[in-house]
Symmetry: none
Subunit: 180 residues, 4 copies
DNA sequence: CATGAATGAGCCTTCATTCAT
DNA sequence: TATGAATGAAGGCTCATTCAT
């Protein structure tokens, strides 16, 4: 049922997604949606929450503690690119549709996205100190942006495996573009 | 008049932006908007087109030919972050509001973004050979994404100057995150 | 529901008939009208179609085959005057409101009216030959016009029964006004 | 200026006729229309009044006193069909567009039509006695209706001369349809 | 005087949301 | 419990009408 909602939200965006269409896609009747998941706002929030959690779980599971930083980063990025490739709809809802308006769920959305940033910042930080995290937060923003940008290019190049995308991105953000 | 529209679209998003509110913000009456700029779709497209062009012009003007690659990159990024800082609303419309899918203007925003990608890919390529450009295109995607992501963080940190943002990003994508 | 629409269209005409008023007259809410009968255009067309069909059915049923021509005509006219008297609104919509041009349903209207003319022409023709019908078509126009004109007079003379109107009209168009 | 209005009203109908279009057709600017002829309603009424008067004058002039009844009738009908043929637009406005809704000009058009009825009733009455006129009034209604109906057919058959239309109608209402 | 420019008001249409079954 | 059926509320768009120039 949430899956159907994510699919429709992904294709149409929040406002153009009609509850009728979501209900039909889920194979249930509209009042069911309302009974189980509440109003449209809440439904959208539920989608965001679930997909964000799913992504976080994947990344967390892929990054065991105790590895070298660049290995952590590599594995985290691999989990990320894999998620984007395999759950296209989820990512679009999370990254594109959820940014839209300062509606009543802006806070919820921002929180979910924020948790991802924090997670990535944690990967980048040498130590879990508060100030260390603060220092790596802007880097995390840039990194997530770069990954998103590259994954968008990847959508037009399906022959490119997630591993290859990771290599490309590591070469940029870890090695640096500067000629040695 | 377009300015008012950009402001409202930036705050509300396309769908929640009421023509009434835009008209009021512009200090004219609704029929004026329709007379001069057409229906809501066209109005939104006009906003996108103008702001995208403005951004392109700034970047193009900021990057004279003949400089060293990393200097070109630095100047291009400076122009970009300056635009984001000085035209918050424009950037929010371009980056957050316009990327929702399903609308009739998906093509417009994709085209605008594509032009920037091409521009950046040109900056990154040593020579204007076809294959050289093809090689730098995914890098350009990552780079533009990183700049976008960092600018998102920058929106919440107005005390951070465009120059500082450039330094942060150059340290990531030019120098690389790897400890020396 | 169609009845309510016919009533309002009859009183106001197509353009001045507000969907609000039609909905109120029907005792339902506006979205119901849209759900069941579509937009205003389609609603109007549906009215025309139903009323035209109703009139045609009445006339057809009233005129069994095999009668003498003047008896056919008499019975057809009786059915007509009865319809106009009993379904005043229907007739006004059909005959007056439906004639305005320029609307997107001009074709539909013309077709419905045309079918009535063809039916009357059939009553007048001795044989169902193509050319015989073509010959009686202008006569049918005149006849329908005369009946309409007389029925308008009848509206101001409610004591005049449909039968009496038929007698009057037969004396004109069958016998002729010429003094014998 | 009225001519332009009649042309537009004829093509579009009252409601679809935009004041802009009328002004453009007249070659003046909109405020001129308002200055000289008042609001849209009044403009429409002015059109109706002028065209109805024109028709009345033509018929009146065509029917000198002292002729045999059937000759009077013939000449009146000829004037009428000639008017319809030569002033298509005027006739369409009078007959199709003006009869529409119970708007503010229903009275106007009814009055105009009433004057024609009275005129025709006078033609038909042997003597100008009150009761004689009352007897011929319903006949006049039928006759005017028949002429209107036949003229409707005539609009689609421009090759049919007014004289031919008169002959057709006289054969119906004077001679009668009954086989001799 | 003639007009370009501007607006108030109203109508069609849609959709999130909820009862009665 | 699950749903078909119904609606309140709101938004896009147009057009008759009028000033200021």
């Amino acid at each position: 049922m949430l899956d159907a909602a994510v699919g429709v939200f992904s294709r149409r965006g929040f406002h153009l997604a009609a509850m009728d269409e979501i209900a039909e896609a889920a194979g249930v009747s509209k009042p069911m949606i309302y009974a189980y998941l509440g109003a449209k706002d809440e439904l959208f929030i539920a989608c965001i929450r679930r997909e964000a959690q799913r992504l976080m779980d994947l990344i967390t599971a892929a990054v065991p503690a105790g590895l070298a930083p660049h290995e952590q980063l590599r594995r985290g990025l691999l989990a990320f690119f894999t998620f984007v490739a395999e759950h296209r709809d989820s990512w679009i809802v999370l990254y594109r549709q959820a940014r839209v308006q300062g509606g009543p769920f802006a806070g919820e959305i921002a929180a979910a996205r924020g948790r991802i940033i924090v997670l990535v910042a944690g990967l980048l930080a040498d130590s879990p100190h508060e100030e260390e995290l603060a220092r790596s937060t802007p880097v995390a923003h840039a990194l997530v942006g770069a990954a998103e940008g590259l994954s968008e290019w990847g959508l037009d190049h399906p022959e490119e495996s997630p591993e290859a995308l990771v290599n490309r991105l590591m070469k940029i953000v870890w090695t640096g573009l500067a000629p040695k």
